[in-house]
Amino acid sequence: MDAIFQLLQNSGAPMPEWLALALAILLPIVIVMGLFLTVFAFLTWVERKALGRIQNRRGPNRVGPVGLFQPVADGLKLLIKEDIVPGAADRVVHFLAPVLVVVPAFLVLTVVPVAKGFVPVDLNIGVLFALAVSTASVLAVFMAGWASRNKFSLLGAMRGVAQVVSYEVPMVLAAVVVLMAAGTLSSIGIVEAQRGWCGWFVCKPWGLVAFVIFQTCAMAEVARTPFDLPEAESEIVAGYHTEYSGFKFALFQMGEYVAAITMGGVTVTLFLGGYLGPGCDLPRIGWLVSAGWFFAKLGLVVVINIWARGTWPRVRVDQLLAFAWKVLLPLSLINIPAMALWYFLPNRLIGWIASAALLAVALVGLTRLNAGRAFEKRSYRFIS
């Protein structure tokens, strides 16, 4: 945004200072919103097609050439649908909740570097801001659940809040490891720190573990299967957005999917070297190639999400929370010394092996610890 502002200033165009500022602010917003809304629409289509193919059936292929207009059709349908507000609902909070679900999802986008030199706002506390804002969606979830005055949605909201709060801690700790390695909080700085051959943080042992933890927590934060407890259809109707219909429901869906994409964006920035790729430093078309790299990696992360959604069953509430506090948290805590080992040992190879060894021990130890009693074979007695 500042770059555009300078650009406008010294471009000599007859423009008053405040208009240049306004333009500098509006331009990135329009680009980011437009870009990520189309990615959102495309994502819903990809998800339904992929889930279909996984379950041996064709995905949507009626609306548009290969079902490509399906998101448009969904959106239109939800627009036309009647917007019912339950009688006992608390009107103000009921109306505000969907808005507040979408706001954090888009706010996180301000710090995700889409291409080389293309980041909406280059905050020097980028990643911290992204993590802080992504936790703000907790309140919106609660407002939705509480406002619709219905037991199931309140139950869903409480589950959602508990889940997000308990998965936020390992997530921040997993991000801490990367920040230590990159030495800065600004997202551009982190991406630049991953240059060089196999420079991505994922290639490091502690980076891989942190990537797995961050990706699990991101899935839990956004309540996607296998962690979609808050809106588990089979158990509590549709969780906190039971009482929403029409466009408010569309906002909820959009909020969830865009949050999934932005979390994917943050994961790519932190672990997969945002826009870095073989051709990203070319003189003129470098930024285009880097954008291509970014969206390819984003696609990879989103595909993993969809793949997990198509495969794994839903997790029980207590397992969900136990997994967060008993496995992810200790693992991410041990990850920090592992990173230190890698960082401070003189020879990188030894450091690599040392941290890998420590993490392997930690992993096996934790799983052994949490394995719980193996169920012995049940014996039956026939009382004659």
Binding site: R53, N56, A308, T311, T367
Partner: protein
């Protein structure tokens, strides 16, 4: 914990990946993509899949098999069939329906009408695309739309149609429609209408031992698959009390007119006559004869007997239920009631 942690998760991923990639390679519906794109491709329906009933006609649509005996109307569980008998210009009722409506929004496609129809007139179709815009009038199927040819029946249900035609040919029964316009005198109609000779419904009283009964039953079941079997529609009617004349051997009664009737035969036994003319013919006859005259003379066995058997049963007090003559409807019921009251039986 066998294997490294998360092994199960990865195996799950492998399965879905195999499915996902596999579905792009062989989508000839052998093993992966089994969806039928409905309007374009249609799944072949199994032969005896049934939806709504239809009326069969041989040759031209007005040679329909249905004689408007209303058995199906009575037996239809949700009562969604409505029949009005046709009558020729001077008011004489004919053996064909003028109005035959089936409300397919009520019909539960149970197939009982096809089962109980004595004349194989109504069979179950397999055409399910019957949705309409309206919910009331459009969903009532009237006679013209119900009529479908026998070859259509052969087309949709070959084996069943062949079996039905085989039994019909064995009975050498010309289609009743041909007989209806020229009402033949009474006994001839009875002879024509009675289908194949039947085994008695209940085992003869003198079989005592269990296995003898089972042997009889096995014998009885052997004929189940051969011809149109008339089910004992309501079990309570078959009383096996041995008083003469036992109504059970309905077949015997039908085959040879019982000796007990007077020498004058049964001039009233003609479904072409209306009730008044029939009662007039049987005016000074015995109670059984007058009761029989009140019947609809169709020998349709809706009551479990034929007209003579039911009259005898009423006269002998074997049964006191006067509502069994389905085709006769209320007029028969009332006359039976008055006659039995006069005779002090009811």
């Amino acid at each position: 914990m066998n294997g490294f942690p998360g092994k199960g998760l990865l195996e799950g991923l492998a399965v879905t990946a195999k499915n996902f990639i596999g579905s792009y390679f062989d989508d000839n519906r052998k093993e992966r993509l089994f969806t039928y794109q409905y309007p374009e491709e249609r799944m072949p329906l199994p032969e005896n899949s049934r939806t709504f009933p239809f009326l069969v006609y041989d040759g031209t649509p007005d040679q329909l098999r249905c004689t408007a005996c209303k058995v199906c109307e009575t037996e239809c569980p949700p009562q969604c069939i409505y029949i009005v008998r046709d009558s020729d210009p001077n008011g004489k009722p004919l053996q064909r329906p003028k109005v035959f409506d089936i409300d397919i929004s009520v019909c539960m496609q149970c197939g009982i009408c096809a089962e109980v129809c004595p004349f194989d007139a109504i069979k179950m179709d397999c055409d399910f695309e019957r949705s309409q815009h309206g919910r009331f009038e459009e969903l009532v199927a009237h006679l013209p739309s119900l009529l479908k040819s026998n070859d259509y029946y052969h087309h949709i249900k070959p084996t069943e149609a062949d079996r039905v035609d085989a039994t019909r040919k064995r009975v050498k029964k010309p289609s009743p429609a041909a007989a209806a316009p020229a009402p033949t005198p009474g006994p001839a109609v009875a002879a024509v209408l009675s289908p194949t000779p039947l085994k008695p419904m209940s085992p003869p009283a003198d079989i005592l031992t269990e296995d003898e009964k089972r042997a009889w039953l096995k014998g009885y079941q052997s004929i189940l698959g051969t011809g149109p079997i008339v089910w004992p529609l309501t079990t309570k009617k078959i009383a096996t009390t041995p008083q003469p004349p036992t109504p059970a051997p309905a077949a015997a009664a039908v085959a040879t007119p019982p000796a007990s009737s007077l020498a004058g035969g049964e001039p009233w036994h003609d479904s072409g006559l209306d009730l008044a003319k029939r009662m007039e013919l049987a005016k000074d006859r015995s109670l059984a004869d007058r009761l029989m005259a009140a019947m609809a003379q169709l020998d349709c066995q809706a009551c479990g007997y034929d007209c003579r058997g039911y009259a005898n049963a009423l006269a002998a007090g074997v049964t006191r239920d006067v509502t069994l003559c389905a085709p006769g409807e209320d007029e028969t019921k009332n006359t039976l009631e008055t006659l039995l009251k006069e005779a002090g039986k009811l």
